[in-house]
Symmetry: C2
Subunit: 273 residues, 2 copies
């Protein structure tokens, strides 16, 4: 399988350098020659929305995605409506930043009824479609690892995200493939092919052995067991040619100097992805 020969699709998800402000991350990308960035909303809020858009454009960066919307299920209709409102703000922010995709982390169930929560997710996304379309922002359903099913996302398999996207069947809704969340699935390659042009994002990192922490224990590419290049080829064969985000939740990595992380990221990307 052919390696990548340039970093022109490489994107920094700001969680990877979580100690940096957005300005520091933007400057770091510019220094490192990385052309894409994927900011988290809290970093944008700190810097101010207009100012965030300006600093990203001034540095010549493009925005691969905004992280994150979602969190749809809630115990009452009023709470669910409030979540939809928050997602509308996220869509506006994505549009202002020029992000093509708003990543949806769909949320946990508010009680034990996981089936009902899944219906609330589908209903929530459906409600957002017109607003997303008006703003020229696509909604990317990101299935999370099943170990986050109780706390972060009742959407846990690519087959599930694909089924939801097919049910909605609009060009504004697709899926995001993150290797950390999906590598274990025996149906991964079938589901990547099924997703096809609906793939709106591709995230890389690695699965460490042992996992140092359930939330903050992801690895740098090459340090774990995921067949990164094989998955990248499958995603490309399905039709995805867009940016490739490095999204690593790892305290040790975010604590090291950001410039070091970016250098390592670039090398590992060419070597392993």
């Amino acid at each position: 399988m052919e390696p990548l020969t340039s970093i022109d699709r490489l994107s920094l998800n700001t969680m990877t350098t979580d100690r940096w402000t957005l300005q520091e991350a933007v400057d770091g990308c510019a220094r490192a020659g990385i052309g894409w960035i994927a900011p988290w909303r809290n970093r944008v809020a700190e810097a101010g929305l207009k100012q965030s858009g300006k600093m990203i454009r001034d540095a010549g960066l493009r925005v691969s995605s905004l992280c994150r919307g979602g969190m749809f299920p809630a115990g009452t209709a009023a709470e669910r409506a409030a979540r939809i409102e928050d997602n509308r703000r996220a869509i506006e922010e994505a549009a202002e930043l020029g992000a093509e995709v708003l990543v949806l982390v769909c949320g946990p169930s508010s009680d034990k009824d996981i089936g009902e929560a899944r219906k609330q997710v589908l209903d929530g996304i459906e409600q957002l479609v017109p607003y997303a379309r008006e703003h020229g922002v696509k909604l990317g359903i990101e299935p999370l690892h099943p170990m986050y099913a109780a706390e972060r996302s009742v959407i846990v398999k690519l087959s599930q995200a694909n089924t939801m996207a097919e049910q909605l069947n609009v060009p504004d809704v697709g899926v995001v493939v993150d290797v950390f969340h999906l590598w274990w699935d025996p149906d991964l390659y079938t589901e990547i092919a099924r997703a096809g042009e609906r793939i709106l994002g591709f995230h890389v990192n690695d699965w460490l052995v042992p996992v140092p922490d359930m939330l903050m224990g992801r690895g740098m590419m090459g340090d774990g067991v995921i067949e990164l290049r094989k998955i990248r080829h499958a995603v490309e064969a399905a039709g995805y040619k867009g940016p490739i985000e490095v999204e690593i939740f790892n305290r040790r990595i975010s604590d090291q100097p950001g410039d070091e992380t970016l250098e390592q990221m670039k090398n590992r990307y060419l070597e392993h992805v």
Copy 2:
């Protein structure tokens, strides 16, 4: 959904009271009126195989399963053959103890090629079938939670275990449903129905929020988010009427006095399963 009205199907998996020797666990079950036990092989080895069988029979207990065989993938043919030999020993032990089922935890990959590891698992189980049949022991493929894919089992969904059992298509091979490993799967109920008479075991416990530890962080029934009764009803509707094992990997629970754990187990079983 109807609760259970007696504990006559309740079984103690010895991992739940991991500080107890097998003799202590057998005596504890007898005191608590629990009629089934599922020993781990290390506890049997400590007590001696013949002696273990005798103490269990003398106490009037039945053995719901022996934990565990499996661990098939390895880097060389010689290593894989050694794993098969070890599984033959486990089958002999299960037969000696009168266990109807040997639970298979299928093992991690020896390298990054998870697809090859899965083939090695299927091949390993196939090799064991004649020996299992001779000894009157059934082989129960237990899919583990995907968070254990890199370290314990490349078999991570019930659909996968069902497909393997269907491919082998012999009465000696079935599947084991453990709620901790499978509760998150949107295809769970479809796959339980598909498994049907191939279900050879049913394990209960709970998924705590937050998870205190990736390996030793399971909960007592009722302390977490799993729809235990709904799953139990589905397993019964599929045809399974056998023992229900309480298998909890949790240091806090195994550190408390075993008799307390057994009392709590009985109450929670009637209340939540």
